[in-house]
């Protein structure tokens, strides 16, 4: 007597599915925002930052009465930071008639997906992809609420040239879009300032052994190392450099400014320099918001939490200003207005980038605290 039972079961499931579907239909006049980024995969932890920020913004905007009478609804899409899946995700977003996207995270996912959004008239704001190429194609509907690699590089390079004044510099990167982009920018600025770049070299992301590279840095007698990439590799480089007795100052972009680097490198992370966007969670203006994150047991200190929050808020304000949910109108509103967000007053240029987004140079300490060195 197995069959009738399983049939009954499948009927129950079908009914439940239909009930779910009708519940979905009732909520149809919500304004849907797709939150696209990695839920799975090796960089899922960065995806999390973005989702935490965006969800909080949606919640708070809804609690304050929503946008033009409708509520916002966030729908999470997982691209696992795989370009192939990102295109599939973009097509499903088109399919589900969603008109606003906050995402994606990795530049290599954002780039192919944004082709589709632009083509299909969907407004996309990325809170994390820093590759300059994304906004360089003259697209109308693609924006970002974070600074560019090409901005962060010069900030770091100028700081090195003007404040640190090292004799011999090595620039190392992880052969990935983000790391190599920044490292190239830093190298170019240093060369313009007549500082000797003794070594410009890539490593393999995910590697664990950098002893050969460090010996080489020691032999080249460099006194300053700029690293373009993320914290796991730089953490190990710092650790192994101390072990081998390399005496050089290190500097890295925001991707290394993560509390984990102190766990990996321990004492060796003391005195490292990092360029970071202003620490939004330490801004007294945002105390209230930070408390809201803490009440929900979420970490507000992630680099993409506040930019993602700002991205959602900018969409909401843009819809209010435009008085419609047409992405083209909203895009027009974004370009012609400025917005008060927790990350400051934002205004967008013709390309869709922020008009001024400042990076600050911090000195990192072994207990993963930091002190600002520049304004």
């Amino acid at each position: 007597m197995k069959k009738p039972y399983s049939k009954a079961l499948s009927r129950i499931i079908a009914v439940a599915a239909m009930a779910g579907a009708s519940g979905f239909a009732m909520a149809a006049d919500n304004i849907k925002i797709a939150l696209a980024g990695p839920v799975t995969g090796p960089v899922a932890q960065y995806g999390d930052m973005q989702f935490v920020g965006a969800k909080m913004a949606i919640e708070r905007i809804n609690a304050a009465g929503g946008v033009n009478g409708s509520q916002l609804e966030g729908v999470i899409f997982d691209d696992a930071c795989d370009p192939k899946q990102a295109v599939a995700v973009a097509n499903r977003i088109v399919n589900d008639d969603i008109q606003f996207v906050v995402g994606h995270l990795c530049s290599s996912s954002t780039q192919p997906a944004s082709d589709i959004y632009e083509d299909e008239g969907i407004l996309m704001i990325t809170a994390a992809s820093t590759s300059p190429e994304i906004t360089e194609r003259g697209y109308e509907l693609i924006f970002r609420t974070i600074g560019l690699d090409s901005l962060q590089g010069p900030t770091a390079g100028e700081y090195i040239a003007e404040q640190v004044k090292p004799k011999k510099v090595a620039v190392v990167h992880d052969k990935q879009q983000y790391g190599e982009g920044i490292a190239t920018a830093v190298r170019d600025v240093l060369r313009e300032n007549d500082i000797e770049v003794a070594l410009f070299e890539g490593i393999t992301a995910g590697d664990k052994d950098f002893s050969a590279l460090i010996s080489r840095l020691r032999q080249a007698d460099v006194d300053f190392v700029y690293y373009g990439g993320y914290h796991p590799e730089l953490g190990l480089i710092l650790r192994q450099a101390r072990e081998q007795g390399l005496k050089a100052k290190f500097m890295g972009p925001e991707g290394v400014g993560n509390t984990d680097i102190s766990a990996i490198a321990g004492e060796a992370s003391e005195g490292m320099l990092v360029t970071l966007p202003k620490a939004f969670d330490e801004d007294p203006k945002n105390a209230d918001l930070v408390q809201a994150f803490k009440d929900k047991n979420e970490d507000p200190s992630g680099a993409f939490v506040f930019p993602a929050y700002a991205a959602v808020q900018v969409i909401a304000d843009g819809i209010k200003l435009a008085g419609s949910t047409d992405p083209f109108d909203v895009a027009e509103a974004l370009r012609s207005n400025s917005f008060e967000t927790p990350t400051g007053t934002l205004s967008f240029d013709e390309k869709g980038d922020l008009k001024d987004f400042n990076f600050v140079v911090y000195e990192w300490h072994a207990d993963s605290s930091k002190t600002a060195l520049s304004e």
Partner: protein
Amino acid sequence: MPDSLYYFIQQLLNGLTVGSTYALIAIGYTMVYGIIGMINFAHGEVYMIGSYIAFISIAALAMFGIDFLPLMIIGTFLISMIVTSAYGYSIERVAYRPLRGGNRLIPLISAIGMSIFLQNVVRLAQGSRDIAMPNLIPGGINIGPQEGFSATLSYMQMIIFAVTLISMTLLTLFITRSRMGRACRACAEDLKMTNLLGINTNGIIALNFIIGAALAAVAGVLLGMYYGVVNPHIGFMAGLKAFTAAVLGGIGSIPGAVLGGLLLGVTEAMTAGYFSSEYKDVVAFSLLILVLLFRPSGILGRPEVEKV
């Protein structure tokens, strides 16, 4: 030119350190291959699990107040080897034993599946973030002049050399002197015949998986302590490199795996030291291809006999 000489020594030491651990992992590949002619693709994940268990047991031992360093390290080795042995045994039972005797591609696929499975089990249980621990044995000695370039050899590197050497010696003694070792060699020679002679070949095959896994745990503990970092993704690349080392030395041959591992490690360090880190892997794989072109069965491998 003493500077460049010490630089060379330094890079040699760097390469030998990495090479030793490649060798330890490579032995797992080579033992399994030698006996059943199958590539255990999940072996890299066993190394990764060994590393995790090392972290867990160090933290646990420290919690129970055992902070006498040698005791702690020996305890860690034991716990880690026991757990990975269980993994080696289970992998053999689940992914290999039911598939023995069929097309050789089948176990390869199931091992790739196993590798993905294990990686995700660990990811779900422990999270995908890097977990780090402080350096337990800091410091080292300098070789060379006070000023100018001097080679450094850390205590941890010395421990890696010593442990690798001890493990290799014990393993060689086991294989050549003990009854079970003789049974292993017999199985590698002719599985069916050995079985007919009344040896429990299933047990011997399982033993090979277990020994391989235990050695991977040794590598996992050593590298865990040396680099101080572990995450669920470290197994894949380490496994790939060790596999390359095993083939380089001649898969199926234990001295070959050691030689292949050391050669690969030194080649990588020399490429990174004298040419560029970017091309480290390219040169490593090119070396493999070149060696195989001139010695199709690896450096110490026995040429395959064609049977009609």
